[in-house]
């Protein structure tokens, strides 16, 4: 059951009605049951894994207070258990294949090709490890109520693809009952609808062209590849941010506030700045639980580079069990290391106007996204090598037209729709830097507001693809 499916809409409608009609003391139990139903819809057997993980982590969290003198071993065990489970489910095949290719003297077992990774394991593992580390640091006390903890572990709204929550942000919200607030539910609904629009109209339509090109790469060179790189950079942003909007919207409808995950990432002035705007819950997690404990930037230039590379290599590996993700992470680590060393030794950021900084950041990020998206490293190299072929022809109208015809298979309707949704994505970002859509609409008369919502739903219904496309980040 993914957030943009009919079955989820039906599930959510029933849940909202029951949730707000039930006495408040049953709200958490209902949410927990709904979370397990959501998880079971993915794969029934995996509910057992989720329940087992919840109980084990609950016992670990209580152990921090019970075994105060052995707090370090408890933390060590908790981290090893969670990372071990993540490794076993997600990385076993990858490392087994790698060891075999390197002809190492030992091998690892593998899962069959059609095996499914437990939904959200990458996300809830980090969430729980962060919680354990916070308990170790005495940031707050362990949650003693099993239902509250279980809900923190498995809330359906954010389990598939985040945001990665913090214990001191989410758990206190479960401690108090929620009263129905029409304005909050309406805001949540609008956020959910907006996310659904971004996913089904913008991201999925850009994905049509991107997927086609990546599946038949050798047929494309030059401007076609440049356009696909641009399309993909916006596809992944719209796809991931739409999930966050929908997750936050759903949570808001239930009276729960989830963390923000994006802050206009394509207005970054550097790669370092990008990570202060992209997937905020993840980047802040890496900063608080990996980078700073390693020493951060407080141990000299060499340690700064080493720590940065470690963090971003792990970031790449976390995104997926494939070398493309690892290389993507390393590229980010290298770029940030260079920027930070530059700032350390030159004492300032990139010496150019802000607009050029934005352009530098966007181009660099787009190049890195190629590695992220490619099916393998040779494909990524192919794109990067062939994207600038015929560069001097890029200004020629006939070359441009020929490239577009090849990209869209002479389909001018698809061409128009793809560029229209791309422009819409960019426009929405610009608008949001000045004001929120909600604020803009609130100033309009009701007729205009209703007309806007009707057109939004109409476009979502009509411009979506027939196939329900999974969110990119739920695969991680």
């Amino acid at each position: 059951m993914i957030l943009n499916s009919f079955s989820f809409l039906a599930f959510l409608t029933v849940l909202l009605i029951v949730y707000w009609k039930l006495p408040k003391k049953f709200q958490l139990s209902l949410l927990l049951l709904a979370s397990y139903v959501f998880y079971a819809a993915y794969k029934l057997d995996y509910v057992v894994i989720m329940v087992a993980a919840t109980l084990i982590n609950f016992l670990f969290s209580l152990s921090f207070e019970k075994f105060k003198r052995h707090i370090k071993p408890v933390l060590f065990l908790a981290i090893v258990a969670n990372i071990g489970a993540l490794f076993a489910f997600k990385y076993l095949n990858f490392f087994s294949t790698t060891f075999t290719q390197l002809h190492l003297p030992f091998t690892l077992p593998t899962y069959p090709a059609n095996y499914l990774i437990p939904l959200g394991i990458s996300f809830y593992t980090l969430q729980i490890i962060g919680y354990h580390i916070d308990l170790y640091r005495h940031k707050y006390k362990a949650e003693k109520r099993l239902i509250n903890f279980a809900l923190f572990h498995s809330l359906f709204a954010n389990i598939s693809a985040g945001p990665i929550e913090r214990g001191d942000h989410l758990l206190p919200q479960f401690a108090k009952p929620h009263s129905f607030d029409a304005a909050q539910v309406t805001d949540g609904l609008k956020l959910f609808a907006y996310g659904l629009f971004k996913k089904m109209v913008i991201a999925d339509n850009l994905a049509l062209v991107v997927d086609r090109v990546f599946a038949t790469l050798p047929e494309f060179k030059g401007l076609s590849l440049v356009l696909v790189i641009i399309f993909y950079s916006w596809q992944i942003y719209m796809d991931f941010s739409s999930y966050t909007d929908m997750a936050r919207g759903v949570a808001k409808m239930l009276g729960i506030d989830l963390l923000e995950n994006f802050n206009f990432p394509y207005f970054s002035t550097s790669i370092s700045d990008f990570w202060r705007r992209w997937h905020l819950s993840f980047s802040s997690w890496l900063r608080d639980y990996v980078y700073i404990p390693l020493g951060g930037n407080r141990k000299g230039a060499i340690r700064l580079v080493v720590n940065t590379l470690i963090v971003f290599t792990l970031s790449g590996l976390w995104h997926g069990a494939a070398w493309t993700f690892v290389v993507w992470g390393i590229l980010h680590g290298l770029a940030i290391s260079i920027e930070r060393l530059g700032k350390r030794f030159l004492g300032k950021t990139l010496p150019m106007p802000k607009i050029l900084q934005n352009i530098y950041a966007y181009i660099t990020l787009s190049i890195f996204w190629v590695v992220f998206r490619a099916n393998n490293l040779p494909d990524a190299l192919y794109i990067l090598k062939n994207a600038t072929i015929g560069l001097k022809n890029f200004a020629s109208p006939s070359y441009v037209w020929a490239s577009l015809n090849q990209l869209f298979v002479f389909n001018r309707v698809e061409m128009a729709i793809t560029f229209a949704v791309l422009l819409l994505a960019v426009l929405l970002e610009f608008i949001r830097t000045k004001t929120t859509l909600a604020t803009l609409l609130a100033k309009q008369p009701p007729v205009v507001r209703f007309a806007f919502y009707i057109v939004l739903v109409f476009l979502t219904l009509q411009l979506r693809n027939s196939d329900i496309k999974q969110f990119i980040y739920t695969r991680f």
């Binding site: 079955s7 609904l189 002479f410 001018r412 009707i454 739903v457 219904l461 009509q462």
Partner: protein, 359 residues
């Protein structure tokens, strides 16, 4: 809460109206009319019910014809159809099938090893195409059913885009073909070797048995089936689509199908339609033993009759009877149906009056 739902409802109605307008223009542009949802419920009873029904996959589809069965007949077979969907189709037509009707259930060489259709497979959409009640379809995707059958106007733009994409693709291919393609030489068909027949008046009026018909038919080499043999062997060994991991589930489906027939006082007759000799040789006897014979022994047939026609050597070896390595041609279908008729008569399922093969 009610006010919020009311506003959402109004917004969806507004979007639906706009969608209906788009759909109107789409239908007009393509000279189509709106198809009202049909077959929402199982078929209603009829006065003259069906007396013989066949279910199964394309082997049954192509292998059995009721042209010479003097009884009311119904074909519910379909390409790639598993026993699970055979049962669904019988449930759909249950009110129209006579008591004591013969239900021919095909046990083909791939039946036990075939995987269940995935929700996204086009096979399930075939049943959404108005043919089957949504209350009977296993693992129904309610959203897909509603938008394809009840509210098709929500897909109007998507369908229009698809049609336009196919149109421009075809135009591009046509313009490429006119400049680049050379005509493909058609292969010369292999000659039929006529079997010598002594022409005497008694032959013209004598009823031929099925075996005599097979013997009297022209002979054609089965070499033409070789490409098909390679294709089928690869297909029936495709992991994920076919395999021993599906044996248990398919045995259960077959047992459920037989039980359903018997509960409705129908007479299930299980049959295995032969495949060509060339394909049999290509698969190896191990295949048939493992994938068919052993599985039948493990299945509770509830006393049903099983007719195994897979030993019909003369039929299997003559390319004249095969359109490809596992599907009978028109002549092949005729003689096989004759063989089937003879067996049904011999077992007492049919009376001579129902035999349309007798002149």
């Amino acid at each position: 809460m009610f006010k919020i739902f009311a506003k959402v409802f109004v917004i969806f109605c507004g979007a639906a109206i706009l969608s209906i307008i788009v759909n109107y223009f789409y239908l007009r542009a393509n000279h189509l009319t709106y198809q009202w949802p049909r077959n929402i419920f199982p078929k209603p009873p009829i006065s003259r019910k069906y007396q013989i029904v066949k279910v199964g996959n394309s082997h049954a589809d192509d292998g059995v014809t009721f042209d010479h069965f003097k009884m009311r007949s119904l074909s519910l077979s379909g390409a790639g159809q598993t026993w699970q969907y055979d049962l669904v189709k019988l449930k759909m037509y249950a009110n129209q099938i006579d008591d004591n009707a013969i239900i021919l259930i095909d046990i083909s060489q791939l039946s036990f090893s075939q995987g269940k259709p995935r929700p996204t497979d086009s096979l399930t959409f075939k049943y959404y195409d108005g043919a089957i009640s949504p209350f009977l379809i296993p693992n129904l995707q309610v959203g897909n059913y509603l938008e394809s059958t009840v509210f098709p106007f929500v897909r109007a733009t998507y369908l229009w885009r698809q049609d336009y994409a196919k149109q421009v693709e075809q135009q591009a291919l046509n313009s490429f073909a006119t400049t680049n393609w050379a005509p493909i030489k058609k292969p010369i068909p292999e000659p039929l070797i006529p079997t010598p027949v002594t022409q005497n008046p008694t032959n013209l009026t004598k009823n031929l048995s099925a075996q005599q018909e097979i013997a009297a038919s022209p002979y054609q080499s089965d070499a033409k089936l070789q490409d098909s043999v390679i294709f089928i062997i690869n297909k029936w060994h495709t992991p994920g689509d076919f395999g021993p991991e599906f044996f248990a589930a398919n045995r259960t489906d077959l047992e459920n199908l037989i039980e359903y027939c018997q509960a409705h006082h129908w007479r299930p007759v299980l049959m295995t339609i032969p495949i060509s000799q060339r394909l049999t040789d290509g698969l190896g006897q191990d295949y048939l033993t493992t994938y068919v014979t052993t599985q039948i022994k493990k299945t509770n047939l509830h006393g049903s009759v099983y007719l195994d026609f897979s030993d019909q050597t003369a039929l299997r070896s003559n390319g004249y009877f095969w359109s490809d390595s596992d599907h009978l041609s028109d002549p092949g279908r005729h003689v096989f149906s004759h063989l089937l008729m003879e067996q049904l008569l011999a077992k007492g399922f049919l009376t001579p009056a129902q035999n349309g093969f007798a002149h």
